[in-house]
Point group: C2
Chain length 874, copies 2
């Protein structure tokens, strides 16, 4: 391993390159790469992540020789830019920026304009002949350094600034006079002295060292740790620190700073897209403090610069073969690139960009498939506002993240979390968002902000999360204390209904009907490429003909789970179901079952028709019977009246269970009340035969749930066969069907060999397997499971992504045991994990036959299954 | 395989022997053995169980050549006794008796006196010059054959007999005149003709064939099937059929029939013990129809016969080296032995007999240990009535099965089952019991019968079950319809409290305080022999110093499970516990925990003292916190008042869970509320240190429950070590302690290697492992689990005996994984299975270090562990 910690980037004297992101962080590696490409990058150097790793392993001490290396590079830097760090003559200012191997937006810290003190301030003013600029830079430096390095709340500096502005009756920072700025700087310094009981540090070298250590420390702030856990990133990677000579976008009206994307990050359309701000520094754009200009304006304002920028973006996209997100600064009409990276994008945009790039010959299909995060693919189905409706527009902002959302207004993330727990749909309405809002955003249906552009925190994070977002709604004013807001002339209180359209940027009054969006051609092409590569078949979980048709449209190759109980819950049928359950004897029960038979038969008829030619796995009744019974005294009494019996309360109470999840359910019901299962089997097979007679190709797979012992399966199988032989004879159809079982209890997995001898197929019910294998009730684990994941005790929520280390063993064991006695036995997954890309990768490795997931997840699963195959390729 | 189906026993012409019980059944094999020993056995022959197996495998057809073999043997039999089957001259009558390889008392059928019709009846009367005897025999035959072979309810014949007796004003059968008997026989035949629409079969050969087939069929009656399932016997064994020449105990006052034990089956004392009845046949004694005489009376009545019987019993016991249960008949002052078998006995008696036989040199210690069914050993601790009490005796019967019991009267098994489900303690009071009562008896605390002796159904079954029983309480008259009984002059209704003493035979008014019995010297010796042989250590589950002392007395080598929550439930502490749970913030909680600390410390101090020198495994808090909270509105309000807070209802409600078994419990509590665990650890270690300073040898083992991921264990372990270092420093004691975990979730077993790296020991919590591994809630499975076991779907209740086929794999996996990374890691079992001999055998094979069970099960576990070792020996 190299002992080098510091790598320069300065035109030809550049030591790093793009593939060194593990050492140099994404930012450092790409700065080096750009320098090598001959792009105008302010020179600087990057301290390797290895130094950060050392720092945390050695009680926060820097590696012994690091500082010598830094000083050496600082000298070279001084030479290359012709300025001197800490010198009042022609002072070199630097930025000190964090940069990990993966993007952690807004998580870690950066200090700009470092190297200023009263001496160098004077030098800067003299050299640039621009005192205002020097003072503006100094006040920025003091507040940023104080916040990041000294830990003083940044809003306190903003408060001083705002007060100064209001005292002077001006609106924007650039209107502050030299005198105002001096007054502000004085107040800033007083604040620092009061808070730290020390003067603001004057020695630039000390500033640098403090800033480097502060960036290292920012790797382990709570929010960074939480973020990494959420994303599954290692805490051992560490951050690099890039020290770069400053260029200044705040040098007056010939200077600017901006952010641009090589293609549209929201739609993927191939057009240059971005924003910039005259006389500003980078953080002004990102933090959304002023609303910036569109990049198109730059073409008019500074046509030469714009032309240069276009050349750069084309060069970068061609070089990286991916859509780039760039930061640039214009200092006195000269263009500098400060950063480039693969741009964040919506799923729809990712799909369009990848497909377009295949057409453009930039990448191949396999690369294109790897470009789209499978788990975000269903973002594409985000709803839009029904265009037929007349809506009342309350305000307009930027369409920062596509899709529409409707819900109740909340003004804080805490409130959003609180209400989300109660299953309320909320819209988070904020002046602007910060990393502290991530949890609140993640539970909100959508986000509206008063400030900030397309690259503001709210916009970036919302796109990453696939949440609709409207940013920069200027007419919005929030009163957090009083829990209300003014939107133009209209006052809205907390919990008032509101709707937003993140595609158009509109904010709409009240609750509005949303409709699903249509699929694009790019999407369809990408899914079809994936479909040719993936080995796993993808089925859908669907309980109605409508869902079945939807799933089929999305490419489902069958139904992996049709839950018959959802049919029971139907409002019109529930009375019959209840009557059946509470029947005082078998005779009454048989009568009611006779009435339920044609209803269930109709359900299956519709599903078989929808799935003509494809297999349909139907699970016999699974939930405990008491789930179907009424709970309130009123409902119970009304049921008793309808059933013409006395009180039912006691009977219903006697059926309740301490732990229904482990109670009288699944095939246990089939064994104690075989008539219910027999009715269901009859309905399935009668429907199958009748459809078959109409030339529909029917492949029913009857699935027995919650088997713990092969004997249960044998008993149920036996009576299924009895009913079948009767029905098939009566209908005169030689219908082929399968009888299989769910593997959803640890014991079933452990004895899968015995069960495989009897069963035609296995379907792993990984939801229940997670509940029993981990001893976790899905209903009750909310109290501690979130804490477990947040604390990193568990890598992820095991209900979202299969616990491969633990339960994975059990699934693998069952697969091996099953195949051991019946090679080629058909095996699949139903349950949430069937739509989770990480789990799909695991199931692909186990060589299962299919996964089944909700209809909207089918494209995700197809893509994930293709990605799993591509990952396996050498 | 031999093609022979029939084996004769007739003095020297005997083909079978004792070790052929698999073919000949216990009865047939022992009759052959007795014949070989020169004991006077009426000759006959036995049809092998193979014929029965063939019968059921071939649609109930007899093997083709069987009947030829039978006829051949019948001819030899005729020769050897000088009588002819079906001949009116000197007719041979036979008994046709079932006999499986294992005893199935009362389960299968027998027909006596077969071969009678009007012709042979006349011949019998002439030959014996005793018309009364011939008629008495004939009426017995008709009713028995009609019941067993023709399936007519036996009580209908009894009813005719009783009516005849009451018409004639007589009490016992023997007082019936010849004329009465003739009238009875006529009525019997009319009944049969009416019921079967055929005349009673007259052809003796046809009678024989029908009887043989009926005995075969009796192998598969529902009650026999249930019984075999209960006992774990194979349904494929089949029954043998023994056809034996009749001898008659009903030939007048010089004839008798009886049952005798070579030692006392209730106490094990070495004295000849039995009962007989003059002028009766075997079933009169067994069915408990008349109360018989004690065998001592025989010494006075027929001293020569008595002497002969004593010689026989000594010969048999010496030969079999075990206590024998014999049936004999005296026909005209001649003694015949009809059966011998190892006698059923109480656990206390089994222990005494086995130990005595070692002292007598009959068997060795290993044989003695195998003689006592380990799972019955705790019968010995059956309570007795406190001798200091003055009790009111309501009646007296025979002390048929030792131990005292107290409970509410029920008059039917259905009622017993019903109330037992509600956890009521019931005493089953019956005129007599039959095999249909087995379930009722098994849930009753004790059994009282009006009729029947020491060998009646009630007595035999009660002893086998270890239930106290008083039989033959003559002053008891039951009115089943009105649900009351007269006991002497006192009328008792259903649910009235009553007490019985199965040792003295007394029935006592009301509910009476019971005390535990003392241990005998034989018991102590046997347990000490077992202790030297067994490899597994035996610990006890004990939550209090009292239980700990008791366990230690019984030989426990430590405490394997001390449940700290039981301390929390204490009436005096529950308020503090509730206050702690409902604390509005950490500060309040900390204060309450400070108050709980000295209380828990005191608990542990007592336990450590009791277990001086032995390890004590203490489990940190396990159940969900809401289990400690009040449920009724009244209690909740009163708690709120005491706590001086507003309403608590909502908070308590919010803590309730859908599936608490899979909820916020175990170490999940320790992680979300570490202060509770820290308090417990502090209490354990402070108690340990303080006891250590008093020279008590303390070995605390702190156990973390419900670990699903090694990270949970790491977190808890870390803060345990923190608390420990603080406590040990403060107390100035270098106390050694261990930190281990329960393996009670499938995931923990699957990742036992990871956990073993961190843990000092494993304790398998097989209760929860059964719940999660099988997806069975112990609280809710009552509805279907019994049906599962009854139907043979499961071999046994998995909560009673570990599911070796399924969960056993998981336990074995965990053991191997644990040892793989930490050879010799200490491993044990706590939970019900730790006291179950079948499971102990499994744990012994896995080479675990210990099992832990309730204090009263400790001797059982010691014995079972020794038996497991002996079974392994070559």
């Amino acid at each position: 391993m190299s002992k080098q910690f510091v790598y320069a980037f300065a035109g030809e004297k550049t030591h790093g390159k793009a593939d060194m992101r593990n050492d140099l962080g994404g930012k450092g590696a790409n700065l080096a790469e750009m320098a090598l490409l001959g792009i105008n990058v302010p020179p600087g150097f990057t301290i390797s992540t290895k130094a950060c790793v050392y720092f945390f392993k050695n009680k926060k001490k820097l590696p012994p020789k690091l500082w010598d290396e830094v000083l050496e590079h600082l000298q070279s830097l001084e030479k290359s830019v012709g300025k001197k760090f800490g010198c009042s003559d022609n002072p070199l200012l630097v930025s000190v920026r964090s940069g990990a191997r993966v993007s952690m937006p807004g998580m870690m810290d950066t200090v700009l304009n470092l190297g200023l003190n009263e001496d160098t301030l004077r030098g800067l003013a003299q050299k640039t002949e621009n005192e205002w600029f020097a003072l503006d830079t100094y006040r920025r430096f003091i507040s940023m350094f104080s916040n990041v390095v000294l830990g003083i709340d940044g809003t306190r500096f903003e408060h001083i600034l705002e007060k100064e502005k209001s005292r002077r009756g001006i609106k924007v920072d650039t209107e502050l006079s030299v005198r105002d700025l001096k007054s502000v700087i004085k107040k800033f310094k007083t604040l620092v002295a009061r808070e730290t009981r020390k003067n603001f540090p004057d020695d630039p070298m000390k500033q640098l060292r403090m800033a480097v250590e502060a960036v290292f420390n920012s790797w382990n702030t709570e929010r960074a740790v939480v973020y990494r856990k959420m994303k599954g990133y290692s805490h051992d990677w560490g951050t690099a620190v890039t020290v770069q000579s400053m260029v200044f976008g705040n040098m007056g009206t010939t200077s600017a700073t901006g952010v641009a994307f090589t293609r549209n990050p929201a739609t993927g359309e191939k057009n240059f897209f971005g924003e910039y701000m005259i006389n500003a520094q980078g953080e002004d754009v990102v933090a959304g403090i002023r609303t910036p200009n569109s990049i198109d304006q730059l073409e008019k304002d500074m046509p030469e610069i714009y032309k240069g920028l276009v050349q750069v973006y084309k060069k970068l996209e061609n070089h990286y073969k991916d859509m780039q997100d760039m930061e640039f600064t214009i200092e006195n009409e000269k263009l500098y690139l400060l950063q480039t990276r693969a741009g964040k994008r919506t799923a729809a945009s990712a799909v369009k960009i990848a497909v377009d790039m295949v057409d453009e010959g930039l990448i191949n299909k396999r690369e294109a498939l790897m470009r789209v995060p499978a788990d975000q693919l269903d973002q594409i189905f985000h709803p839009t506002i029904d265009p037929k409706l007349k809506t009342k527009i309350l305000g307009e902002g930027l369409g920062a993240s596509p899709g529409a959302a409707t819900g109740k207004i909340v003004f804080s993330s805490e409130r959003a979390l609180e209400l989300a727990k109660k299953k309320e749909k909320v819209i988070l309405v904020r002046t602007e968002t910060s990393p502290e809002d991530i949890h609140g955003m993640s539970v909100a249906e959508g986000i509206i902000t008063a400030k900030g552009g397309m690259t503001s925190h709210a916009a970036v994070v919302a796109r990453a999360m696939g949440k609709p977002c409207v940013s920069g709604v200027e007419e919005l004013a929030i009163n957090g204390k009083r829990k209300n807001c003014l939107l133009g002339a209209i006052k809205l209180k907390e919990l008032a209904p509101i709707t937003l359209d993140g595609t158009t940027g509109q904010v709409i009054e009240g609750k509005v009907n949303l409709i699903k969006s249509h699929l694009t051609a790019s999407f369809t092409r990408m899914v079809s490429w994936a479909g040719k590569i993936r080995r796993l078949k993808i089925r859908a979980n669907a309980d109605t003909p409508q869902e079945a048709l939807l799933a089929r449209d999305f490419g489902a190759q069958g139904i992996g789970l049709c839950r018959t109980e959802h049919m029971f819950f139907d409002e019109k049928r529930i009375f019959l179901v209840r009557k059946m359950i509470l029947a005082k004897n078998d005779k009454v029960r048989t009568e009611v079952l006779k009435k339920l038979l044609p209803i269930q038969r109709k359900d299956f008829t519709g599903i078989f028709k929808a799935m003509d030619g494809l297999p349909v796995t139907i699970r016999l009744l699974d939930p405990p019977l008491h789930e179907f019974l009424p709970r309130s005294t009123k409902e119970i009494n009304s049921l008793a009246r309808e059933m013409k019996v006395g009180a039912l309360g006691k009977k219903i109470e006697s059926m309740s269970e301490m732990n229904p999840m482990l109670g009288h359910r699944g095939c246990r019901l089939g064994i104690t009340f075989p008539d219910i299962y027999k009715m269901q089997v009859r309905a399935i097979l009668e429907a199958g035969c009748r459809m078959a007679k109409k030339d529909v190709k029917v492949y029913p797979e009857i699935m027995v749930p919650l088997v713990l012992h092969v004997n249960e399966f044998k008993i149920v199988r036996e009576f299924i066969l009895e009913v079948a032989s009767e029905v098939l004879k009566k209908e005169g159809v030689d219908l082929k069907f399968k009888i299989g079982t769910m593997i959803e209890l640890p014991r079933a997995a452990l004895t899968a060999d015995e069960i495989a001898r009897e069963a035609d197929f296995f379907s792993f019910g990984t939801n229940d397997l997670t509940q029993t294998g981990l001893g976790l009730s899905r209903d009750d684990s909310g109290n501690f499971l979130r804490q477990y994941v947040d604390q990193g005790l568990l890598n992820h929520d095991p209900f979202v992504s299969l616990d491969q280390d633990g339960l994975g063993q059990l699934v693998q064991l069952a697969v091996e045991k099953g195949r051991g006695v019946k090679p080629g036995i058909h095996m699949g997954i139903c349950g949430e994990h069937g739509g989770d890309p990480v789990s799909i990768d695991f199931f692909n490795r186990l060589n299962l036959d299919y996964v089944s997931c909700s209809p909207y997840r089918v494209p995700t699963a197809i893509l994930a299954a293709a990605q799993a195959v591509i990952k396996e390729e050498p």
